[in-house]
């Protein structure tokens, strides 16, 4: 049971360093938000406590040093450290409390939901335009002229994309349009950012209201072109579609 307390500390520190410094440097990755790092570290801690308390012996080996330290039984050099911890702990709590309650000019963290629910009148729609090569090609043409400046080659990396936060959607990502029905896209393209419902604010979308420029039929063709270009299929409930 020796080292039963040291290993968890090393493990926790290693996981923190891994999440903070290694994951962001993996290919196609980015820094993780602190909320996610905190979540993973909580899981790590829970796992450590669960494993350490499986038997009476391992529990004593894990909590024993902490208890002895905090009750002053360790003695020696630990005595001074104990007073230091007992003094610093309230200060740490105070600092945390101050940090979480003090006024700040930083905007609050947002829990934006990406997919708002479409209005009822759009939910039952299906694409009325035949899926012919011509229509798909026509839709791709419209996409190239209207959508690609932001959404790029279906990958969300158009030349105007760097100007937006959040960036335009990457349609090649299997977690975007592949998860949605065509009617959802029809609504989002037709009504744009201004047509988003108030529920679940804040919406951040610079999407134009394309109904002002495109007919419904053209929007359906754009949708077909989008799916075809991105190599995705829309969500359907009928396998033959």
């Amino acid at each position: 049971m020796k080292g039963v307390l040291v290993r968890p500390i090393f493990l926790t520190v290693f996981i923190y360093l891994f999440l903070k410094f290694i994951v962001p440097n993996l290919p196609h990755s980015a820094p993780l938000p602190s909320s996610l790092i905190f979540l993973y570290l909580m899981l790590t801690t829970a796992g450590i406590v669960i494993f350490a308390t499986l038997s009476g012996a391992s529990k004593d080996a894990f909590f024993g040093p902490m208890l002895r330290f905090l009750t002053g039984e360790s003695g020696g050099a630990f005595g001074g450290a104990r007073y230091l911890v007992l003094a610093l702990f309230p200060l740490l709590v105070g600092w945390q409390t101050y940090g979480s309650t003090a006024s700040s000019d930083a905007p609050p963290a947002e829990n934006r939901t990406i997919h708002p629910a479409p209005p009822g009148e759009y939910t039952g729609l299906s694409n009325p335009v035949p899926k012919t090569p011509d229509n798909i090609m026509y839709g791709k043409g419209l996409y190239a002229s209207r959508c690609s400046p932001c959404h790029g080659n279906f990958d969300g990396k158009g030349f105007a994309a760097p100007g937006f936060t959040p960036p335009p959607a990457n349609f090649k990502d299997p977690t975007t349009i592949a998860m949605l029905q065509e009617s959802f896209l029809f609504w989002r393209i037709k009504k744009g950012g201004v047509g988003l419902p108030v529920e679940g604010m804040p919406w951040k979308s610079a999407m134009p209201r394309w109904e002002l420029e495109l007919s419904d039929e053209d929007i359906w063709k754009v949708i077909m072109g989008e799916y075809d270009g991105a190599g995705q299929k829309p969500r359907t409930w009928d396998e033959s579609e």
Partner: protein, 653 residues
Amino acid sequence: MTARLRNQQPGNRREAANDIMVNDEVRTMRHQGRIVTNHGRQLAGRVALLAGCAALFGLAGMPDVALAQESASAPTAYRDIPYIGSRNLVWIIAQLHLLLAGFVLGVPIFAWLCEIVGWKSGDKRYDKLAKEFTKLLTSSYATTALFGGILLFMLIGFYPKLMTYLTDIFFPSFLVYCALFLVETATLYLYWYGWDAMAEGNGKKFHIFLGFLLNVFAFFIMIVPNSWATFQASPVVLAEGSDFARAWAATWNPTWWPVNVHRLIANVVLGGYICGAYAGIRYLSAKSQEERYHYDWMGYVGNFIGVFGLLPLPFAGYWLMREIYQYNQQMGITLMGGFLSWLFILQAMLIGVLFLGSNYYFWLGITHRIPGSETQYRKPIMAMLIILLLCLAVWMTPHSLVASLAEAQQMGGTHHPLLGVFGVMSAKMTVANLMVLVTFMSFIMYWRAGKQDTAGWAKVAKAVIGAVLALAGIAVIVLGVWGYFVPAIIRINYFSTSQVGIVIFVMLTITPLTALLLKSAKTTTEMVWGKMPPRAGYALVLNAVMVILLMTLMGYARSSSRVHWHVYGVMRDSSQYAFSPALGYAATLMALNTFLFCMLVAFIFWVATMGDKAKATAGVKGPVEPGRIPAMAGGAQSLDGAAIDSPEANRPV
């Protein structure tokens, strides 16, 4: 195929119904891929005599309320109550009623199964356990009915317009519901009061048959109010036909059976874990070794039944969500991608704790009840724990992350380019399946602990078990990853179902194989009951609290998915409460409901066991012996630590 929702009442009733439909709305809603014919309804309608409803109790899941805005001539649509508000009050009462109902319907399943095991095995402990819990039924049954009555009065008082509409649709089923309640009550009385009189021979067989009937009636009592609640979410309204035909069509709505199945399994889970929690508390307060022995064993049975129900529960939930999404895209996205999607991250946390708690209890059992097993199983336990935590990390990773502006800019939005892939169903289903597999293996490990295989083919069997498990794990992961590259319908219809099928195949293969192996196995270490550390008792209580919290959370999700509709797409909520409460506010009410339910159950347990405790303590006077102090009263140290692990302390009693 389109099913039409039309105003269907002839004559005066049609006018009345028009009044309550917003804007005299005649709406058409699409039930994609769903065919409901009048012929089918009429045929099925005859069967519906068995499954009707009566509005004495229930109508769970209708917290949408509002204030009366009446004039002298107009009928009252809503009433309110000061301070707490009508919606909050109905929310609390409906949730408590639903939780109590879950308990009252779950416990008979639990008790009946225990009675059968006791009857078949001849182990009287199971019979005693079944009886102990049936005793709780009588008081909790009355409490459930009481809350159902309160709920009914409140619904009629606060929502007269909605109740008129629902009564008009469901009246025939109300009558059937009354009849079901009568036979259920009579059966319960016979089952409980006839326990000792029908303890042997054919009497016992008849008693078990009564238990079967009790559960059959209970099942129908559950599915009838389910039809009212699910009708509100996915209404099917016939344009013409008899009262009976309309009631049956409304009953057989798209989400009725998914909810029935989900709630049935959830009730078993609730019953099992509450039994576990009860055993845990009694274990912690036990003063004698005999008590500790009994309640340790009871905790094991409760946890086992809870886990038994927990394993298929995610799949039933998945089916329910699939039906909701297929029924209406708006509702599906509101739940899974819209403002309610955060609830599913909370759900992941709660389910994660539940899985961890259940496995932890199994592992504690291996370590403490089977002396000497700790060293043997420490590494496999660590491996399972790591897999569970990794799965949980994936399950809890949201699609859109909570991030500061600076963090979002670094990520290029709130969707992480690498870990964002964990935020969708393909990943969630994969890890849910893996967690179920790990939990199943925890149980198998517990089952095998302390036994030594003697069969000549044991090596081959163990190799088969290992291979099946490894291949199943790999197949589940491969299908999960592949699921990102196929159309959603292929993933939903084939990949997800295949994953579930693989897990079921593993269970159906390994369980009999293990049973065969154990038949000829030699017991090397006897199971020692009553030696679990106090934290095992607390783990059982934690599991029960998690299940209750989960039910309150999902109840809120299901009700809120209707957003500003009393009856989705048919009757709009036009009250001052026609908005979804903020998640933090809802979470406070969920916590309050959980607390109130725990207090109610504690009260029921206390009342029901008062007499037994008085008998047990009669004659036991004087100071408590050293080492006999209950864990809850400061004796935890004497029941835990390295000393309790020693062979001497673990001698069977």
